[in-house]
C-alpha cells in the first residue's frame, strides 16, 4: 500500500513535533478576509510580532461587502470600520490585497482558485470554515480560528493534530440535471453532519473524476458540513488544464517542474486509507434540504422523514427542525412555496453556477411575490457573466443582479431574509437564523434548482422544465 495525497502533502510540510505532541505544519498559502483577521492583527500588535512571510498571504473583502453600492464609505458604519481596518493591516504588513480597484475582489474561496493562487500540494488556510474548497486542487485546505490566523501570520505554521483520511468513493455517473451540489448534499445525508469528525475526506471515483474544477470546488466546499475539516480531490489533467495560464500559476520552466511535482503527489491506485465509504452516484437525484442542518436533505421526489422512522439519535434534531421550519412530517419537498431565491456564495457563486441558473431563467419570469438575487462570487465572475450576457438574462427574467460578495449566505451585509421567509438558496448552511432573520428558513439546493424555484414560486424538479 502507498501513501495517499494527504499524507504526502502533510509530510512535505511537517516542520517538526511540538512539546504538546502536535505537528508543526508549514502553511503554503494564507487567505485573509475582513471578519476573522482584525483581532489576529491586534494580537500581533500586542505581542510586538511581525508577519513572517507576507508574500504567502493574500487578502480580499467579501463577508460584509454591500452588493448594491460599493461606494465608500459604506452606508453601514460598522462594515466601513471593518474594511478600513483590513486596509490598514494589509498596508502595514505588505500583504497583497484584492480590492475593488484591482478588479479581483470577491468571495475569498472564489478568488484564490480563479487567480491560480490555489495549487496542488499546498497547505492552504483561511479564517473561514469553507476553506476546504481549495482541496479541489489536491491541496490540504482547512478553516482556522482567529488565534490560528495570528499563528500563521507570525510563524507561517500551525500546531495541528494529523487527521485520519477517509476515501469517499462515488461510483457510477451522475444523471442529467444532477451536479456537484446534489452530490455533496447526498453525501451529507448519507454520512451525517458529524460523520467526518477526525477525518479528511478524499473524494474519488468515476463521478468525481467527471466533475469540472468548479464542480470539485462545490463538492469540497461543504466537507465541513459533514464534520470533516478538509476534503480534497487528487489532481489530474482537469486540474492542470484549469490552472495553466492563471495569473499566480507557475509559468515557463517552473510549469514543467510543477506538473512533475503535482503528479508525484496524486493518490496512486493502491493508496491506503483509514476508512472507505462508497456511494452510488447514479442513484442521486436533485437534492433539497428540509431542515436546520445540511445533512437534512432528500431527493426531489422524496418525502420528509417521519420522526418515528428515524434512528433515535436523529429524532430530537429532526423534531426541532419541524418545529422551526413549520413543515409536516411525511410531506413531499416538491411544491414547497418559497419567498426568496439566492444564487451565490463560495459554494455556488462561480461562472458555471451562473450559467446553470441562467439556462433555467432564460425566457422565463420570476414568480410573483418572489424576491430573487444573483450575486456573482467575484468581480472576475461578474465580468465574465456580463461578457456572456447572463446579467441581462437574469434582469429580463426579473432577478436582481448584484455586485460580488458573500451576501445572503450569512447576511452580514444588508441582504437578509425577513421574518419567516423561505429561501431557496445555493449557499451552504440552512442553520437557524443563518440568512439574517432569526426566524428565516433556508432550503439548500443547486443553482439550477434555485432558478427553477424562483420562476415557479415553489420547489420543483429542474429536470421537468
Amino acid at each position: 500500500m502507498s501513501k495517499n495525497l494527504f499524507d504526502k502533502v502533510w509530510d512535505a510540510h511537517l516542520v517538526g513535533r511540538l512539546p504538546t505532541g502536535q505537528d508543526q505544519l508549514f502553511i503554503g498559502l494564507h487567505l485573509i478576509h475582513e471578519v476573522t483577521s482584525p483581532q489576529a492583527f491586534g494580537m500581533l500588535e500586542e505581542r510586538g510580532l511581525g508577519v513572517l512571510h507576507p508574500e504567502r498571504s493574500f487578502a480580499t473583502c467579501d463577508h460584509i461587502v454591500p452588493t448594491l453600492s460599493r461606494d465608500r464609505p459604506f452606508a453601514d458604519p460598522e462594515a466601513e470600520t471593518m474594511l478600513a481596518e483590513l486596509e490598514k493591516n494589509v498596508k502595514k504588513h505588505g500583504i497583497a490585497y484584492f480590492d475593488f480597484a484591482s478588479g479581483r475582489q470577491g468571495v475569498v474561496h472564489v478568488v484564490g482558485p480563479e487567480l491560480g493562487l490555489t495549487q496542488p500540494g499546498m497547505t492552504i488556510v483561511c479564517g473561514d470554515s469553507h476553506t476546504a474548497t481549495h482541496g479541489a486542487f489536491g491541496a490540504i485546505a482547512f478553516g482556522i480560528g482567529t488565534s490560528q490566523v495570528r499563528d500563521v501570520l507570525a510563524t507561517q505554521s500551525l500546531a495541528m493534530d494529523r487527521p485520519k483520511v477517509r476515501k469517499v468513493e462515488i461510483t457510477g455517473r451522475l444523471g442529467g440535471g444532477v451536479g456537484a451540489k446534489d452530490l455533496i448534499l447526498a453525501i451529507l445525508a448519507e454520512l451525517g453532519v458529524e460523520g467526518g469528525l477526525g477525518y479528511a475526506y478524499e473524494y474519488a471515483g468515476e463521478a468525481v473524476r467527471a466533475l469540472t474544477m468548479e464542480g470539485r470546488m462545490t463538492l469540497c466546499n461543504m466537507s465541513i458540513e459533514g464534520g470533516a475539516r478538509s476534503g480534497y480531490v487528487s489532481p489530474d489533467q482537469t486540474t492542470y488544464d484549469y490552472l495553466k495560464g492563471r495569473p499566480y500559476a507557475p509559468s515557463g520552466a517552473d510549469w514543467e517542474g510543477a506538473l512533475a511535482w503535482w503528479k508525484s503527489l496524486a493518490s496512486p491506485a493502491d493508496a491506503s486509507f483509514d476508512d472507505v465509504k462508497r456511494i452510488d452516484g447514479s442513484a442521486i437525484e436533485p437534492m433539497v434540504t428540509w431542515g436546520i442542518n445540511p445533512g437534512q436533505g432528500l431527493g426531489i421526489s422524496g418525502r420528509m422523514p417521519r420522526l418515528a422512522e428515524l434512528p433515535a439519535e436523529k429524532r430530537d434534531v429532526a423534531a426541532k427542525a419541524y418545529e422551526y421550519m413549520g413543515f409536516a412530517e411525511g410531506s413531499p419537498i416538491a411544491g414547497t412555496k418559497i419567498d426568496v431565491a439566492f444564487v451565490g456564495s463560495c459554494t455556488n457563486g462561480r461562472i458555471s453556477d451562473l450559467r446553470e441558473a441562467a439556462a433555467v431563467a432564460r425566457g422565463r419570469k420570476v414568480a410573483k411575490g418572489v424576491r430573487a438575487l444573483i450575486v456573482p462570487g467575484s468581480m472576475q465572475v461578474d465580468a465574465q457573466a456580463r461578457a456572456e450576457g447572463l446579467d441581462r438574462v437574469f434582469v429580463e427574467a426579473g432577478f436582481e443582479y448584484r455586485n460580488p460578495g458573500c451576501s445572503m449566505c450569512l447576511a452580514m451585509n444588508p441582504d437578509k431574509l425577513r421574518g419567516r421567509e423561505v429561501s431557496a438558496s445555493s449557499s451552504n448552511r440552512n442553520f437557524i437564523g443563518r440568512q439574517g432573520s432569526p426566524r428565516g428558513r433556508t432550503l439548500l439546493m443547486s443553482p439550477a434548482m434555485v432558478a427553477a424555484a424562483a420562476v415557479v414560486g415553489e420547489v420543483i424538479d429542474v429536470r421537468s422544465m
Binding site: 512535505a12 516542520v15 517538526g16 511540538l18 512539546p19 504538546t20 505532541g21 502536535q22 508543526q24 508549514f26 503554503g28 471578519v35 476573522t36 482584525p38 483581532q39 453601514d76 470600520t81 471593518m82 499546498m122 473561514d128 470554515s129 482547512f142 478553516g143 480560528g145 482567529t146 488565534s147 490560528q148 495570528r150 499563528d151 510563524t155 507561517q156 500551525l158 493534530d161 453532519v193 458529524e194 465541513i224 458540513e225 464534520g227 495569473p247 499566480y248 500559476a249 507557475p250 515557463g252 517552473d254 517542474g257 510543477a258 511535482w261 439519535e313 430530537d316 434534531v317 450569512l410 447576511a411 452580514m412 448552511r429 442553520f431 437557524i432 437564523g433 443563518r434 439574517g436 426566524r439
Partner: protein, 206 residues
C-alpha cells in the same frame, strides 16, 4: 474570564446544561454580532436568538435562568460548535463566564478554538452527558470538577470518565495552549521546510 495562570489541570465551577445535538456556531453567536474589530462585548450576545425574541423579550433558556447565573461549566451533547470557524463563538462563551465545556462530541475547528483560549472541551459518553445534565438541573448549586490530570469529572458523589486528544490535554495541563511561542521557537526548522518546498521559489506574473 479564565484565570491568569495558564494551567488548566483542574477547572471547577457550577454547571449549566444545554440539551441539544448539532448546536452550530451561528446559534452560539449570530453573524450580525461579528461586525466588530475586537471580541469585546460578545458575552452578552451568546445564544442571542435562542434567548430572546425579535422584540428582545426573553425566552425559556438555561442562560436566562437565574438558577444558573454564575455557572462556568457548560454541559452539552453531540457535535457542539459545528459550522462556521468563528472564534467569536468560544470568545462569546468565555465572556459569558464559561471556563470549560463537557459533552459527547465537539466540532473540530470549534474545539481547537476553545483550546487556543484555554477552555477545555472534555468529552464524555452520550449517556454520561445526559446524566451530568440531569444532576446540574436537579442541583444548580452542585460543583463540577473537571480534572484533566486524572481524566475524570466529579459531580457530588458521581465520577465520570472524560477524554480529549492527548495533545490538547497536554497543552491545557501544562498551560502551553497559546501556541505562538512554541511555533516561533522553531524558526530555523520553519526556514528549512520552506526551502524544501518547490512552490516557494516559483515565479508568477501575478
Amino acid at each position: 474570564m479564565a484565570s491568569k495562570d495558564p494551567r488548566r489541570a483542574l477547572v471547577e465551577g457550577r454547571g449549566i446544561a444545554l440539551r441539544e445535538d448539532d448546536v452550530d456556531t451561528d446559534r452560539i453567536i449570530p453573524a450580525r454580532y461579528m461586525k466588530g474589530v475586537t471580541f469585546e462585548g460578545l458575552g452578552e450576545h451568546a445564544f442571542q436568538d435562542a434567548r430572546f425574541d425579535e422584540a428582545g423579550e426573553p425566552k425559556a433558556h438555561p442562560f436566562n435562568d437565574a438558577r444558573f447565573k454564575g455557572a462556568s461549566i457548560l454541559v452539552v451533547n453531540r457535535n457542539f460548535g459545528c459550522g462556521s470557524s468563528r472564534e467569536h463563538a468560544p470568545q462569546a462563551l468565555a465572556r459569558a463566564g464559561i471556563a470549560a465545556l463537557v459533552g459527547e462530541s465537539f466540532a473540530e475547528i470549534f474545539s481547537g478554538n476553545c483550546v487556543s483560549l484555554g477552555i477545555p472541551p472534555a468529552r464524555v459518553s452520550a449517556a454520561d452527558a445526559r446524566a451530568i445534565q440531569d444532576q446540574v438541573e436537579a442541583d444548580p448549586e452542585l460543583t463540577l470538577v473537571v480534572d484533566l490530570a486524572k481524566g475524570q469529572l466529579r459531580a457530588g458523589s458521581k465520577l465520570y470518565a472524560i477524554s480529549m486528544p492527548e495533545t490538547q490535554r497536554q497543552a491545557l495541563v501544562a498551560g502551553t495552549w497559546d501556541s505562538t511561542g512554541a511555533l516561533l521557537a522553531a524558526e530555523a526548522a520553519i526556514a528549512k521546510t520552506a526551502a524544501s518546498l518547490p512552490y516557494m521559489t516559483w515565479k508568477a506574473a501575478g
